[in-house]
């Protein structure tokens, strides 16, 4: 089975990063790491590949930089990577991202495309759905358990009240949620091998896509700081006040 996994390199969340003063885009350092939530997608892809003797191809749109994040995913066991690194794609919105990724995926026959629910630095959360439209395959979102058997994929779809069982023919696109599998830690061997796995770098024009970034970030504001809480002094009856407050906020 041919599995494509969409992954994103993002600035290390452990170290603060800057926004460009003019266009408000994230200033991307040379060393970017694999978005933690994408480890789930890679793990799902690897498990499917192991069960079917398939291959996992990573697909990523970002400045390549040191490729650290991509190597992290390759170290987990993915076979190869395709990167779309193109200055004209800077500041891409979700639609452009979906067009680019779909075009890259569409170059090869694939059976399953795996994507995360949303990225940790952008949070648009719509790219998988857009891609499924462009690739003309069903989108199975909020997948928390995935099985493939005889050309049919079955997932448990997380809902607010429980889960639904959804099946689909292949090819299909899966948008996975965190917590469905425990992503593996790369082995030392895997880390060493990652260096020599094939990484293909493409531009938008290689894919025949005309970038058309329709989005502009006009303003960025700090999150309002939290207001100081109310302090209830305990005079023996404080619990009544607390119940009252909780009722006011409709918590109880």
């Amino acid at each position: 089975m041919n599995i494509a996994v969409c992954v994103k390199q993002i600035p290390d969340p452990a170290t603060p990063y800057d926004l460009d003063d003019d266009n408000h885009w994230v200033v991307r350092p040379n060393d970017q790491v694999l978005d933690d939530t994408d480890r789930v997608g890679v793990e799902v892809g690897l498990q499917l590949a192991e069960a079917t003797e398939g291959t996992v191809t990573l697909v990523s749109m970002s400045p390549s930089g040191s490729l650290q994040g991509i190597r992290q995913a390759l170290a987990m066991g993915a076979d190869k990577a395709v990167i779309i690194d193109d200055d004209t794609l800077k500041g891409s919105d979700a639609l452009t991202t979906a067009r680019i990724l779909s075009a890259a995926i569409d170059r090869e026959e694939f059976d399953v495309v795996v994507a995360g629910g949303e990225s940790t630095d952008g949070y648009t959360g719509v790219v998988p759905q857009m891609m499924s439209e462009m690739l003309d395959v069903p989108c199975l979102s909020f997948a928390r358990k995935v099985d493939v058997d005889d050309g049919i994929v079955t997932i448990e779809r997380q809902t607010a009240s429980g889960y639904e069982v959804v099946t689909s023919k292949l090819p299909a696109l899966l948008a996975v949620t965190a917590g469905i599998v425990e992503p593996r830690y790369p082995t030392f061997k895997g880390i060493m091998q990652a260096k020599s796995k094939p990484v293909e770098t493409l531009t938008a024009s290689d894919l025949g896509v005309e970038p058309d970034v329709g989005q502009r970030v006009t303003e960025v504001a700090d999150v309002a700081s939290r207001e100081a809480g109310d302090i209830v002094e305990d005079d023996g009856e404080a619990y009544l006040k607390i119940v009252e407050l909780l009722e006011q906020t409709k918590v109880i």
């Binding site: 650290q68 170290a75 830690y185 060493m192």
Partner: protein, 587 residues
């Protein structure tokens, strides 16, 4: 439980500026190591040890190892983590590729060990001792022994121990009495009771390979009559699988101040089958391969526990609000109080100094084993010999001190187990004791290492420190304080070194050994931080992390380096005053 964030940036910086890892990786022995993969390796190791290994630290301390039905049982949480460690291959980093290892330099192995040890000191002792055993068998074992044991030890499917100590033979290993009698088939029958065997038994693997010192019947007395044997817990079948139980019994395990998860065993050998390593009576020499490596690793424990205590204390000091700092009209986090600040800076500066010293020593080991040029190999071996006792003793003494300061930063909560600082302190306390007490290290430094090459080795090291004066002078005002204090400390240490070299009273030199080791360690720490400050200076304006490196060197130079002057009189005081009081008046 306190979190652990591996200090990958300082590790990388130290690998670059002190160990010069680039030149090590360039050696032919390490042709297969790609400089570009090092960052990836360190960041993945950091993730693994902080996310998988570190969470076992507290529970290991609480539950500890237990002896049940003659076998040691580890806390339940340890088994899956051990399996993940083995699967990931983090214990095979430096092992020989011939036996499934990755053949990486020891320098990079130490970087991985640092994170493992910080994450869980007690647990890390198992792979640590196994690693020392691997080094020993790789260098001194026969082809047969290597083929039988190395692959499984390198993969950590089996673990190794180091079995020297007996009740009457601790610091004086030469006094040991365990005996070894040659059997007709070439194996030996080993008998005797050994104590304090770290990870001497456990339930994590299906075999344990003991490396045991014992004496053949007509061996000469003392260390010249000691031989070394491989004694597996389970004897191997023809095709190398563990089968029959060897007669090694775990009699008891110790209840200890710290490292509760590490079983410290009394082992009884009763005509156990053992296989000799190398030749009879040369066991001490072989064991030194193991001990030298283990000494650096124990020094590393000082660093690792200090790093953990430092992170924990800094975190606490940012949150804990108490009193008002001068000039503040609000209540202040304690990190704003100068005295707390001093504690944290001492922790930071000492920890980074330790890291540099250890990584320099281990880099010397790599060069000693792998440099192309014979003279470079010899010089590196001498440097390693000089630095080993300092790395072991100075770093473990600092480890205890820093863990103690960590308790102090937390105030009352530091003394309360729940907060976690107390465990670091308890765990740290063993490190100055085992692997040759720090007193023995000081003797090794003063009585054996200083006289090496008629004083040429220490002289070369001190000259190297002196040669930093020029670059520091070029560093301008920012490094003027570092230069001044480093120069002054160097003069004091030189005087003390000359005094020791000139003294022909061994008793007096032994009396001054421990303060001398502390002086030299303190000077070395200042030297390494000064080198790092020079390397960081050009980026200090644009990068606060680099600016902190320069400021840390300055803090160390002004606050810690001057301690060498206070130590000088006790180095040269002689021994008479130590014996001025009759034994009856002591105690």
């Amino acid at each position: 439980m306190p979190n652990y964030t591996p200090p990958v940036r300082d590790i990388t910086f130290t690998l670059d500026t002190i160990a010069d890892v680039e030149s090590i990786v360039a050696l032919p022995d390490f042709e297969h190591v790609d400089l570009d993969t090092i960052d990836g390796m360190l960041s993945e190791a950091a993730r693994f040890f902080s996310e998988v290994f570190a969470p076992t630290n507290e529970v290991g301390d609480e539950k500890g190892a237990a002896l049940e039905n003659g076998g040691v049982v580890t806390p339940d949480e340890f088994k899956p983590v051990w399996q993940k460690l083995v699967d990931a291959g983090w214990t095979a980093v430096t092992g020989s590729p011939e036996y499934g290892g990755h053949g990486f330099p020891r320098t990079l192995g130490l970087a991985v060990s640092e994170m493992m040890t910080s994450a869980n000191l007690a647990f890390s002792l198992n792979p640590m001792l196994t690693g020392s055993g691997i080094a020993l068998l790789t260098r001194h074992g026969s082809d047969e022994l290597r083929d039988q044991y190395l692959a499984k030890l390198i993969s950590s499917e089996w673990t190794g121990t180091m079995v020297l100590t007996e009740s009457e033979a601790g610091s004086d290993v030469g006094a040991l009495r365990a005996k070894a009698v040659l059997n007709p088939d070439g194996s030996y029958s080993i008998s005797g009771t050994k104590i304090f065997v770290t990870w001497g038994d456990h339930d994590l693997t299906d075999n344990i390979i003991h490396l045991v010192l014992a004496r053949t019947p007509d061996a000469p007395a003392g260390t010249r009559g000691i031989s070394l044997f491989v004694v597996p817990k389970f004897l191997l079948t023809e095709d190398g699988a563990p089968s029959k139980r060897n007669s090694v019994e775990t009699v008891s395990i110790e209840h200890k101040l710290g490292i509760h998860a590490s079983p410290t065993c009394v082992l009884a050998f009763d005509d156990a089958t053992g296989y000799i390593v190398g030749e009879e009576n040369k066991g001490m020499r072989y064991m030194f391969t193991m001990m030298n490596q283990a000494r650096l690793e124990v020094g590393l424990e000082g660093l690792s526990v200090a790093e953990r205590a430092y992170q924990h204390a800094a975190e606490y000091a940012k949150d804990r609000v108490q009193g008002r700092a001068a000039g503040s009209d609000e209540l202040s986090p304690i990190i704003d109080h100068p005295d707390v600040r001093r504690m944290l800076m001492t922790m930071k500066a000492s920890t980074e100094a330790m890291r540099a010293l250890l990584y320099d020593a281990v880099a010397a080991e790599d060069r000693h084993l792998s440099a192309q040029d014979e003279l470079e190999r010899i010089a590196a071996g001498d440097r390693l010999a000089l630095l080993t006792p300092i790395a072991k003793a100075w770093c473990t003494d600092r480890g205890v001190e820093i863990a103690s300061i960590g308790v102090q930063v937390l105030g009352g909560m530091g003394f309360v187990e729940e907060a976690g600082a107390a465990q670091f302190y308890r765990d740290a306390r063993i490190t100055p004791i085992y692997e040759g007490t720090n007193g023995i290290q000081a003797l090794d430094l003063v009585m054996r290492k200083l006289p090496m090459g008629d004083g040429a080795v220490i002289t070369a090291y001190l000259s190297e420190i002196e040669s930093l004066d020029g670059p520091l002078a070029d560093g301008g005002d920012a490094l003027a304080g570092v230069r001044e204090h480093l120069g002054a400390a160097l003069r004091t240490v030189r005087d003390a070194t000359s005094w020791l070299a000139a003294s022909n009273d061994p008793q007096a030199r032994m009396a001054g050994a421990t303060p001398y080791l502390e002086m030299l360690g303190t000077l070395a720490g200042g030297y390494y931080l000064a080198r790092q400050a020079l390397a960081a200076q050009s980026e200090a304006d644009s990068d606060s992390w680099m600016a902190a490196k320069v400021a840390t060197a300055h803090f160390y130079a002004v606050n810690l380096l001057p301690k060498v002057h206070g130590l000088a009189p006790s180095v040269t005081a002689g021994s008479e005053h130590l014996f001025a009081i009759e034994d009856t008046n002591l105690g």
